[in-house]
């Protein structure tokens, strides 16, 4: 298994800023996308991704290729940072999120893309963490099932189960968009 990042990680571990910048350019958009969809907040997503990259910089000199692809490891770190933040959230914030996701908004509002985007985001935000992560990785990041299962540290069967349950919940949660 050839990891395209191995050389860059080794150079970043030796203090090479250009290598660090190249790694960041390659992976920042994907990690931010995952964090944004996991957390539903751009500011929190940016903080989580910054934390994940900080962990990368501190561990880069000790990175040993071969066990997992670097990108898989970075996804895992980013998701863990997101889980940390989700668990620290006060309950009130979850209530606010639920308020945004009014199940029967006005029809004219629903026609607007921004409102629909909020609706989708709120529905994603209501999923349990692991189901959300599975949906985000497989749907938005376009990871294969094997890769997504490896990132989440579960079997492919468990991933498929998470995906099926997550999709079922989303279909039910968003049914009013389709049937209304």
């Amino acid at each position: 298994m050839i990891d395209p990042d191995t050389e860059l990680v080794a150079r970043a571990g030796r203090g090479d800023r250009a290598a660090a910048q190249a790694l960041m350019s390659r992976h920042l958009p994907k990690m931010l996308s995952v964090a944004r969809r996991m957390l539903g907040s751009q500011a929190e997503a940016e903080d989580a991704v910054q934390d994940a990259f900080l962990k990368l910089w501190t561990h880069a000199s000790r990175w040993r290729p071969g066990r997992a692809l670097f990108e898989t490891w970075l996804y895992r770190v980013t998701l863990n940072k997101c889980y940390d933040r989700l668990r620290k959230r006060p309950t009130a914030k979850l209530d606010e999120a639920n308020e945004v996701a009014d199940p029967a908004p006005a029809a004219d509002t629903m026609l607007e893309g921004a409102a629909l985007a909020r609706e989708i985001e709120a529905a994603l935000g209501e999923l349990p963490e692991r189901q959300r992560a599975a949906i985000v990785l497989c749907h938005y990041q376009e990871c294969g099932n094997i890769e997504a299962a490896e990132i989440l540290g579960i079997s492919v069967e468990a991933l498929e189960s998470l995906l099926a349950r997550g999709r079922r919940t989303l279909r039910a949660r968003l049914a009013h968009l389709r049937d209304g």
Binding site: G15, R17, L28, R37, E46, Q50, L54, G113, I120, R178
Partner: protein, 122 residues
């Protein structure tokens, strides 16, 4: 995508299309700068090593205590006061130090009632 735009076909295809409407995440230049600043800080710490890091912390403490002075001045002041303290502790006899103080050390048994009365009016 309004209701009329949503495909009415297979459930999964509909959900896939709907999910595409989640807001995108765009990394601003500020985030990149923050991440690279973290890299610079980590690289600097690694370059300095533990001894260099300790020296740097010492220099920062010196700058806080004695702003604007070169690092050797607070270092010399600290070293002199330390040397004086050690010299005093080593060479000044204990009896002399007690006599100069002019106070008698009193041993008090904590499990005995006090041998004096406290004047309640004072």
């Amino acid at each position: 995508m309004g209701r009329q735009d949503l495909p009415m076909g297979e459930d999964d295809a509909w959900l896939d299309r709907a999910l595409k409407f989640a807001p995108p995440a765009v990394a601003g230049p500020a985030l990149g700068a923050r991440i690279l600043a973290d890299f610079d800080a980590v690289a600097e710490r690694r370059r300095l090593g533990p001894a260099g890091l300790a020296g740097r912390i010492f220099a920062e403490i010196g700058a806080a205590l004695w702003p604007g002075a070169p690092a050797w001045q607070p270092a010399v002041a600290l070293a002199l006061s330390l040397a004086l303290g050690i010299a005093a502790g080593t060479f000044v006899p204990v009896s002399e130090a007690s006599a100069e103080n002019g106070e008698q050390a009193a041993a008090v048994a904590l499990d005995q009632p006090p041998a004096f009365e406290i004047d309640e009016t004072s």
